[in-house]
């Protein structure tokens, strides 16, 4: 990116799982750029590598998964070159993360107040009383009713929506530069989803935190993001500012995703209607990864992998349909 206010850059990230059946390339050369205070969407079907991208950033990958290539830079410092101590200074402080499942993301044996104070206590040199006051403030900000009383409540006493608010409060408590939200609303029902997205937008504007919003729902992206990356089978297939993407979607996969946006007013029953199956990462097609499911596939698509072509307005797409040479040569 030429843009100077980019605060966070992932370049050529490859994350692989070394299983007994072979190497699974869960994230396969991903570039993502986030500018200050910007909300970036990362969207794609289940299993395309969204969470593993996030886990690579947080260095929370579980064995046998490992980052094998690439750089992840926060304000120019490469997280992948840091030692454990330096990573811990960043986690929960400068980059925080919210997870999909609010029901299990909180420790059942500590009060939510205590859990929310933890990040403050390790990253900032403040007293317990100050930390407590800050947490109660933050609870109020994320719309937890009666925050003083709720401070000493255990997670199981709260609904899913409230727990996700607690998670957001915990993630925002140190005013991070970047917050990664991995499907923060998928487990919630539609009205609560809308409230939580609205809340995240508000906070993000107020505090100036940049967000990477991971979702399989383009509707969520439309609602809450400025820029979007569409991911498929470990690769970015298309990226553009949100308005541009919705006005002018280019990749056949993006079309498919658009057609399957669940309306915010409908009950979520099924999510996707793109024909065909998500590819097996152990046995990928030789050419374009979307080829077996693509209704515009050409001969060249079965043989070569397309690059990410940059068009006007920074719109990028990984598809031969947008490569002039290929199209003119008539293959």
């Amino acid at each position: 990116m030429i843009n100077n206010d980019s605060i966070f850059e992932i370049r050529g990230l490859k994350t692989q799982f070394f299983t007994s059946k072979g190497v699974v390339p869960a994230v396969d050369g991903v570039d993502i750029t986030v500018r200050k205070g910007e909300a970036v969407g990362l969207v794609g079907e289940s299993g395309c590598g969204k969470s593993m991208t996030a886990m690579s950033v947080m260095q929370l990958l579980k064995k046998p998964g490992r980052v094998v290539e690439g750089t992840i830079k926060l304000n120019g410092e490469d997280l992948l070159k840091m030692n454990k101590r330096e990573i811990n200074d960043i986690r929960g402080n400068r980059i925080s993360m919210i997870f999909q499942e609010p029901m299990t993301a909180l420790n059942p044996v500590y009060t939510i107040g205590k859990q929310a104070m933890e990040a403050l206590m390790i990253h900032q040199k403040i007293s317990k009383e100050e930390a407590k006051a800050k947490v109660i403030d933050m609870f109020a900000k994320v719309g937890i009713p009666e925050p003083e009383k709720r401070f000493s409540v255990y997670p199981h006493q709260l609904s899913g929506g409230l727990r996700q608010r607690v998670m957001i409060a915990m993630a925002m408590i140190c005013n991070p530069e970047l917050m990664i939200a991995d499907e923060p609303t998928t487990a919630l029902d539609v009205t609560i989803e809308a409230q939580i997205l609205y809340l995240m937008n508000q906070l993000q504007k107020e505090v100036g935190t940049a967000v990477i919003m991971i979702t399989h729902n383009l509707g969520v992206v439309a609602e809450s993001c400025d820029y979007v990356y569409v991911m498929y089978a470990g690769k970015i297939m298309e990226e553009a500012p949100v308005k541009e993407l919705f006005k002018n979607p280019l990749h056949p996969y993006t079309f498919g995703l658009m057609n399957s946006i669940p309306k915010m007013t409908e009950v979520k029953t099924h999510l996707y209607t793109i024909k065909g199956m998500v590819p097996n990462l152990l046995n990928l097609p030789q050419g374009c990864r979307f080829c077996p499911r693509c209704d515009k596939a050409m001969k060249i698509c079965t043989m070569y992998q397309p690059d990410l072509y940059e068009l006007e307005d920074g719109h990028k797409v990984r598809c031969f349909l947008y490569n002039k040479e290929v199209m003119e040569s008539g293959k």
Partner: protein, 306 residues
């Protein structure tokens, strides 16, 4: 919480009565007239008959049971045939030794068990893990009498560092505590390990790591407290079982505790003493389980709040 505790206590009362009944009936059906056992082979049948009548042993079983129960509640468990002393006195004499043995060996067991379990879990699948789990498996499968004699031979006989038998000084307590603690530690170590490994897979552990907590803090603060819930329960039950008398260890080391008291009651066919000591031991186990339950609920906020 208080309601839960009271409920649990009330539930255990019928259980205790049932236990007394079972033990009582079991000893009724054993062959042989206890009076003839007590008076020896030379007593004449007339005398035996008279004494049996005097002691109320000809009354219906249920009547004797009620009597026994009422007396037991007041701390009177009858009189030993052979030793002619109140059974409660005999128990009061031997119980302190059993308590000392239980406390010292439980400490050994818990310290070894919890540490080995944590280290094994953190170093899962390494050589250290295998060694510790092997060590604890040996502890679980080791016959206590054999291990006890081995320790006596090495530290008592060969090296002469520690006394082999008796229970009068702290030095006497070391070998019994080590062997009993070691054999009990295996269960704790394995439970701690598996519980901690299971807990470390939880989403909230990932949340704790994502906060920037140091890994050792993640394990100790977020993992261990959850993982200890089943372990503490096991500890309480183990402690109760130690308190109810370690027959073999007490015998091998010549410790005059509840276990030895029960063995001598069996050997001398002293039925009231056997009955009294078995009931006492069982009560300890029931109370131990009760405490384990209450501890469990105390550690788990979900149960605590009900």
């Amino acid at each position: 919480m208080l309601k839960y505790v009271i409920k649990r206590i009330l539930i255990s009362i019928p259980l205790m009565i049932a236990v007394v009944l079972v033990v009582f009936l079991m000893l009724q059906v054993l062959p042989g007239n206890p009076v003839s056992v007590m008076m020896g082979e030379k007593a004449s049948p007339d005398v035996i008959e008279r004494v049996t009548e005097q002691m109320g042993l000809n009354d219906p079983v249920w009547e004797r049971f009620i009597d026994y129960l009422v007396n037991a509640v007041q701390g009177d468990l009858g009189t030993s045939y052979k030793l002619s002393r109140p059974i409660s006195d005999l128990i009061a004499d031997s119980f302190p030794n059993t308590v000392k043995l239980a406390i010292t060996s439980a400490l050994v067991s818990w310290i070894i068990g919890v540490f080995a379990g944590i280290i094994s879990a953190i170093k899962k699948d390494t050589l250290l893990d295998r060694f510790l789990m092997g060590f604890s498996l040996v502890g679980i499968s080791l016959p206590v009498f054999w291990g006890a004699m081995l320790l006596q031979f090495i530290f008592g006989y060969t090296l002469g560092w520690l006394p082999i038998s008796g229970y009068s000084t702290p030095a006497h307590m070391i070998l019994p505590a080590v062997i009993l603690g070691w054999t009990s530690s295996g269960t704790i170590a394995r439970l701690t390990r598996s519980s901690l490994l299971g807990i470390m897979e939880n989403d909230y552990i990932r949340t704790a790591r994502a906060k920037g907590l140091d890994e050792s803090l993640v394990v100790v603060k977020h993992g261990l407290k959850n993982a200890m819930i089943p372990v503490v329960t096991m500890m309480a039950m183990q402690f109760a079982s130690l308190l109810s008398g370690a027959v073999i260890t007490e015998s091998v080391f010549g410790i005059g505790g509840i276990g030895v008291l029960m063995v001598s009651a069996v050997n001398t066919r002293d039925m009231p003493l056997l009955q009294g000591s078995v009931i006492f031991s069982t009560m300890i186990i029931i109370i131990g389980n009760l405490v384990a339950d209450i501890l469990y609920s105390f550690l788990d906020p979900k149960i605590r709040e009900q």
